[in-house]
Symmetry: C2
Subunit: 154 residues, 2 copies
């Protein structure tokens, strides 16, 4: 077993995403980990990722965090479902198929955000994960991300 982040195991060729690629020096470089059956990511946005009025995170940023954390979660979940750990073999990569986000209440800018993912179902190459985003102990948004496995990735 490893304590490394899921994104640290992406093959170099797939590690350029603005949201989650470790090789994107201009990007967010979010990091996702297992926490029991759930995956978790902590991230504190820079203040300029504000919404229309300062003090709150803008909706697109929340969707981006959910999209990237969701993609990382299904990659790691697929590996785990196949009976492997992150150190055993290359991680599969997925692309976004669809995303749905419900913004439940404003997300304050400043506190660390906690994004949690839970594997929901798999249908062929399509995998769905449920995601929540919390700040100060309250869920601010919930979402569902459908990812599609890239055929050439194992």
């Amino acid at each position: 077993m490893t304590n490394g982040a899921f994104q640290d195991y992406y093959p170099d060729a797939f590690a350029h995403c603005f949201g989650c690629g470790r090789l994107n020096k201009d990007g967010l470089q979010i990091k996702s980990y297992w926490d029991g059956e759930e995956s978790v990511c902590h991230y504190t946005p820079k203040p300029f990722y504000t919404g229309g009025f300062p003090g709150y995170v803008y909706g697109g940023f929340i969707a981006s965090l959910m999209d990237c954390h969701g993609a990382a979660t299904v990659s790691a979940a697929k590996l785990r479902a196949d009976g492997y750990s992150l150190d055993d073999r290359p991680i599969s990569r997925f692309v976004s198929g669809s995303i749905k986000v419900d913004y439940l209440k404003p997300t304050p800018m400043g506190p660390v955000l906690e994004i949690r993912g839970r594997f929901k179902e798999i249908k062929g190459r399509k995998v769905t994960v449920s995601v929540t985003l919390s700040a100060e102990g309250e869920i601010r948004a919930k979402g569902e991300v459908l990812l599609v496995q890239i055929p050439e990735s194992k």
Copy 2:
């Protein structure tokens, strides 16, 4: 009538959004306009907004463009529905209620992206807009954004 972008009419207090606020010097500063019954926005992302493998735009960025263009569209549509033009009175502001994006095919990095919005329905303070994102003449993603009018904005 005016040829100004919708976002140029946001009250200063609501013009800080990373995606669409004209006062956010670090932001995208997207601009949306009427094109008949539809709204349109053209935007060319910087190359670092790539997906996992270079050459394609990442999903969260597409969701962000749709979210912000959708919010601008409903603001302008509300004004138009009330019988006013952008120069007549302050534009109402909305916050994201929910967003759903279907990624239909990869969005290439490089070509200008065209985001189109179409007002769909209004239910009290909740307004829904349909959005498409195209590159090189092909629709790459389609979405639906539900916005909620901020009570204190008229």
